[in-house]
């Protein structure tokens, strides 16, 4: 089991822990609903140091990243970031990630903790040209501040940081260490993610907690991180994304830039796009109070048409919500979900569940 540098800090804050991606991570502090609403209404601070950071540097870094990932890389300016994937040759998702352009010749990938080793092996296996590939995950801590007041929380620590555009980042100094501060997040709220040397991650946490106190900041665990991303319809690797599904089925075709001449998985995706997808990802809001769960069957009359990938309680809607893959030819909006052998009704809705 791995521990982040903030483990003792979480213990002091009364966190309850869970294993995630090989790390002992805070599940909750005061309670998932309280933490969730704190992020929606004010601000929350997350330790996401379990996330992986892989650096690609060298003469051929840009052309290599362009080949390795399906989104445009050369169009990224220094200080810009974007959502993208590592795909296999079948167009399946090895991981979803954010790519950061650090300079003309260097990039950082922020990847899922549970996939970091797999991603690193895949990148090395596909290495082309004059580049170096370094997994720095053990040395870097990551703190995320999210919520409508996150700018006011971050400003005293990183002056003028709220001038950053969404999906842009700055290199800042904190206690003589370099910090990448990025206007990104996984909650649907405004927010900032900070990548910092792990020797000062506790100090950065404390600085942000201090500046956030007057704004009602609360520490937030992975429980609320999951309900926040589910309300936004954001995919989670292992639930909505896997090596056997293409991003096209997950409404993520916008990430795939077919005008790029070549990238890993392009041929398979071109053919999948021609044939049309067999399953599509939808959102379902329950009509009653029941809560759908992962792997519950989705039914139309008596026929199984799909399966729930993420099912949870939405604190913003006070309802059960689900993301589910259903047969793409289904046009009905009134469906059933079999929850522990009892049929409950729900309505297919456009994602996200809540409009921001």
């Amino acid at each position: 089991m791995h521990y982040t540098s903030l483990y003792e800090t979480h213990k002091k804050l009364g966190a309850r822990f869970m294993e995630f991606g090989g790390f002992e991570m805070p599940l909750q502090y005061t309670g998932i609903i309280d933490e969730h609403l704190s992020v929606r209404n004010r601000a929350g601070i997350f330790d996401v140091s379990h996330m992986g950071e892989i650096f690609i540097e060298g003469e051929d870094a840009e052309s290599f990243c362009e080949w390795l990932t399906p989104n445009h890389v050369s169009r990224l300016a220094e200080g810009q970031a974007e959502y993208t994937f590592l795909l296999n040759e079948r167009g399946g998702v090895i991981d979803d990630m954010i790519i950061y352009r650090l300079s003309g010749k260097s990039f950082m990938f922020c990847v899922n903790a549970s996939n970091t080793d797999k991603d690193f092996r895949w990148i090395v296996q596909n290495k082309r040209g004059n580049i170096s590939i370094d997994d720095m995950s053990q040395d870097i801590g990551m703190i995320s501040v999210q919520g409508p007041l996150s700018g006011r929380v971050a400003e005293p620590v990183f002056p003028s940081v709220s001038r950053l555009k969404r999906f842009s980042f700055d290199v800042r100094d904190f206690m003589n260490k370099q910090v990448y501060v990025s206007r990104t997040g996984y909650t649907g709220e405004d927010g900032y993610e900070c990548f910092v040397d792990k020797s000062v991650v506790v100090d950065l946490w404390n600085a942000l907690m201090d500046s956030g106190r007057t704004h009602g900041i609360k520490p937030v665990g992975l429980g609320a991180r999951d309900t926040l991303r589910a309300e936004m319809g954001y995919p989670l690797y292992g639930m909505e994304l896997s090596e056997t599904m293409t991003p096209l089925s997950a409404n993520l075709g916008w990430v795939i830039k077919m005008d790029k001449k070549s990238f890993i998985g392009r041929d398979a995706l071109a053919s999948a796009a021609r044939q049309g997808i067999s399953k599509r990802l939808v959102g379902i809001i329950m009509n009653g109070k029941s809560i759908p769960r992962h792997q519950n069957p989705v039914l139309l009359k008596d026929r199984v048409i799909g399966e729930v990938t993420t099912g949870t309680y939405s604190p913003s809607l006070s309802r059960g919500i689900a993301m589910a893959y259903i047969d793409n030819n289904i046009e009905a909006v009134d469906v059933g979900i079999d929850i522990r052998s009892i049929l409950h009704t729900g309505t297919i809705v456009q994602l996200p569940f809540i409009k921001k």
Partner: protein, 132 residues
């Protein structure tokens, strides 16, 4: 952790308050704390006959689903509608407002032998400490 002395407890973390032939049932403070925010509860219907250890209903937190079992045999004579409408009462007041059902003890039943399988407050507290 609150543990009223006048209640009986199970290793599945239910409590029973026994008043004559009426048995009031709920889940313990320890259980609600472990579950976290409780957002949904389903209970059996009035009139349902249950044997000790039968499933009485389910309790759902944001992240998990747990079954609730009856500590003693009996038939459901009353279901707490308030706790169904406001499951968060279980987190706030597990032994009073958040009672779940009232059972009529089986008149020809074996309540005494069933009672012997339940824990008193001290034994339950010890059991929870060992579980942590």
């Amino acid at each position: 952790m609150q543990l009223p002395k006048d209640l009986k407890y199970t290793k599945e973390h239910e409590w029973a308050r026994i008043e004559g032939s009426t048995i009031t049932v709920g889940i313990t403070d320890y259980a609600q704390d472990k579950l976290g925010d409780i957002v949904f509860i389903e209970l059996g219907e009035t009139g349902t006959q249950l044997k000790q250890g039968d499933k009485l209903g389910t309790v759902e937190s944001v992240k998990s689903v747990s079954d609730v079992f009856t500590p003693l045999s009996g038939s459901i004579k009353e279901v707490n509608k308030e706790v169904i409408d406001h499951p968060e009462l279980i987190n706030k007041d597990p032994y009073n407002k958040a009672w779940m059902v009232r059972l009529s003890a089986d008149p020809k039943g074996s309540m005494n032998s069933e009672m012997a399988k339940l824990l008193d407050a001290d034994a339950y507290e010890k059991y929870c400490k060992e579980a942590d």
